[in-house]
């Protein structure tokens, strides 16, 4: 069935393309300039990112690259989290003493779901929309660990934050593998607009999102 359907569909589509063409009456294609970059002001870009992430009711803080462990400790104390799942390649220097960090080496899903939270890095940030992009690369791990726990503490480097959405896709194209790695775009904690079209935080993904920008 499959092969004959394939050929029949393609044949029908080819005929349709010809008959449904608007020809001379249709306005010609032109290339349109939409914004592919922001204005290049790095400080403003990082501030915008922080602001936009916070607007989704996530918590946003800043720290230095040598101060990550201390920042993580403070945040976990405030949130009351002890057992955290981490990607297998997360650097030891990010991990404060006094907490239980479990590296993900194909951990069972019930073990991951039973964790207090997940601590991860990020591939990219988008300032305009307050978005964090995970691509399974350095310090991010597989998709499941940033999904099942109810709390996500994400560390993003300031230099990985781009201005606008098209920039993010251009950037990701330069680091893509073949075939491509899976991507997850995260803009705030899990939410729904299904009740009276108002955004309510907290459904199936992590209901609490904390973000540190490392400068």
């Amino acid at each position: 069935m499959s092969n004959s359907s394939r050929n029949a569909m393609l044949a029908k589509i080819r005929t349709a393309i010809m008959t449904g063409s608007r020809g001379d009456f249709h306005e010609a294609h032109t290339s349109v300039p939409y914004s592919a970059y922001d204005d290049g002001n790095v400080a403003a870009r990082i501030e915008l990112f922080a602001h936009r992430v916070a607007e989704y009711k996530a918590w946003v803080g800043h720290c230095t690259s040598v101060g990550i462990a201390q920042a993580v400790a403070e945040r976990l104390m405030i949130r009351g989290k002890k057992r955290m799942v981490i990607p297998s390649d997360l650097p030891d220097s990010w991990l404060p003493k006094g907490f239980d960090f479990v590296r993900d080496s194909q951990l069972d899903r019930t073990v991951i779901a039973g964790m207090d939270g997940v601590l991860s890095g990020a591939a990219l940030g988008i300032a305009q929309t307050g978005t964090i992009v995970l691509d399974g690369g350095a310090f991010q791990g597989r998709r499941m660990i940033s999904l099942l726990p109810d709390y996500h503490l994400c560390i993003i480097r300031a230099q990985d934050i781009v201005g606008v959405v098209p920039e993010a896709f251009a950037q990701l194209a330069t680091t893509r593998q073949s075939p491509m790695q899976p991507y997850t775009f995260i803009s705030g904690p899990s939410a729904t607009s299904d009740i009276e079209l108002n955004r309510v935080e907290g459904v199936h993904g992590p209901r609490t999102l904390d973000v540190f920008i490392v400068e």
Binding site: S5, M9, K12, G136
Partner: protein, 480 residues
């Protein structure tokens, strides 16, 4: 009339009949008015903050124009890329074929239940019903879809299927079906109840189905845009993932997502970005489902492609901006449209998918106010397509003998003949001035005869003044 077998959208009675009963439901009117006003404001705010919004719309339109012009090439390109990445691509001419493919794939896994990401395409082909016949239970995981499923109702909105229900109605439903007597109507608590209810399913069910917002021909990547995380669950946790996608959802290049991932969230939920977007390419070692199938569905789409005016309908990215802004939809709700696609987009898409003869009231379910065209992120000229489809409805009607006795047809033809000459037109003006006298009271007609009665049943009609403009003009020319 028997519906074409390839299409199994369930059609309700004529729009005006469904609308009439919906208009009498005061709770529905209140819920719809509140929800649509909220979302219009949110959309306007996030659209206004982008100075290049109009350029993005034009870019979106041009990308989609290109997709349609080279659809065969892009589909084959997509198939190659997905196959190279370890996925499988299936081709389905119609709903029946698509359902058969999905059912067989699920049966091969031995699983008796699946978790589902909200997907209009699978609603269109009524996948859940087909699976039920095969003894497979489909669990809807999107909050609104879950509400609809628990209430045994039909969707009334493409994005928020339970838009017609308010929080206290949802609370009552959850209290009963989830056995949670102490649940309040606080949206946060309602969402938490859904989280609790579905968590066990996410952890244990081995097969998931989804739709697709976009698929990239260049890379073979498939993209699902969502809010709650149920999508991430379905796309990540099971062993087998089956996605069903209309052939028109394809985008040529990876970079095109830079345009569409701005257009969609802002037009749809009125957010700068939706909480979660997943993009995957075939299967990924040690991460997510190790078996991936993409079913490419035609189901009438190539017929739409063959219509030079209707073709733009396939540009639709299912954002629902046109639905949210439509003054007709706001008042009637979605059920009156009798299709999984309500509102302005439904009024043009449904008749084209099933044939205008089977949905001939839908192209008239619009005042042609144009609000839909203004907000459409890919610039579908919905009023133009509506008028085009009305032309088809009338042309089809006029081939039938019964059109000879159709009052509207007779009247329209008579008026066209009258307007064809100045002399007959002027005669008709004078005749109208004379004939109206029994009905006029102080400059207005309150109970008109014949077709005018349809107007005056609800509002008064101005009497025809004794002197037309042209009579006045001639008199003035004479006097000078």
């Amino acid at each position: 009339m028997k519906k074409p077998e390839s299409v199994i959208i369930e059609l309700a009675p004529r729009f005006e009949v469904g609308a009439k009963s919906a208009l009498q439901n005061t709770q529905l009117r209140r819920n719809m008015g509140k929800a649509t006003q909220t979302i219009r404001g949110k959309r306007a705010a996030v659209v206004d903050e982008l100075s290049d919004w109009e350029s993005l719309r034009v870019a979106g339109q041009h990308i989609k124009d290109d997709v349609m012009q080279h659809l065969d090439t892009y589909l084959v390109q997509l198939e190659d890329a997905i196959t190279r990445a370890g996925g499988h691509v299936h081709w389905a001419k119609d709903a029946h074929e698509a359902n058969e493919i999905v059912t067989h794939l699920i049966q091969a896994t031995g699983s008796k239940e699946i978790i589902k990401v909200k997907s209009l395409t699978t609603d269109e082909i009524r996948l859940n019903e087909a699976l039920e016949l095969a003894g497979i239970t489909a669990i809807e995981t999107d909050l609104a879809e879950l509400i609809i499923q628990l209430a045994h109702e039909k969707s009334s909105h493409i994005l928020v299927p339970a838009i017609h229900k308010n929080r206290s109605e949802i609370r009552a439903l959850f209290q009963k079906s989830m056995n949670l007597p102490d649940l309040t109507d606080e949206p946060k608590e309602l969402a938490a109840a859904a989280r609790q209810f579905l968590r066990e399913k996410f952890m244990s069910v081995r097969v998931a189905t989804s739709g697709a917002n976009f698929a990239i021909a260049e890379t073979g990547s498939v993209c699902v845009v969502e809010s709650e995380g149920n999508g991430r669950m379905c796309l990540t946790m099971p062993d087998v993932l089956i996605s069903v996608m209309g052939i028109e959802k394809i985008l040529p290049r990876w970079q095109d997502l830079g345009v569409f991932m701005q257009l969609l969230p802002r037009s749809s939920t009125g957010e700068r970005m939706n909480p979660y977007t997943s993009i995957w390419t075939g299967v990924h070692a040690d991460d997510g489902p190790q078996e991936f199938h993409l079913v490419l569905l035609d189901n009438g789409r190539s017929d739409v492609l063959a219509d030079s005016v209707g073709r733009q309908t396939l540009h639709c990215i299912r954002c629902s901006a046109c639905i949210n802004v439509c003054p007709v939809y706001e008042r009637t709700g979605g059920h009156a449209y009798g299709s999984v696609y309500p509102g302005p987009i439904g009024a043009i898409l449904t008749p084209q998918l099933v044939g205008t003869a089977y949905a001939d009231s839908l192209p008239y379910a619009s005042s042609l106010c144009g609000a839909c065209y203004d907000v459409c992120p890919v610039r579908i000229n919905i009023p133009e397509v509506l008028v085009h489809l009305r032309g088809k409805v009338v042309a089809e009607k006029q081939t039938q003998l019964k059109s000879w006795f159709d009052g509207e047809n007779i009247g329209m033809k008579a008026m066209a003949t009258t307007f064809a000459h100045r002399s007959t037109y002027e005669l008709a003006q004078q005749a109208g001035q004379l004939a109206q006298w029994p009905f006029v009271y102080e400059g207005y007609i309150e109970h008109g005869p014949g077709p005018l009665g349809k107007w005056t049943a609800m509002r008064d009609f101005p009497a025809i003044p004794p002197q037309s403009f042209r009579d006045w003009w001639r008199e003035r020319q004479r006097d000078e």
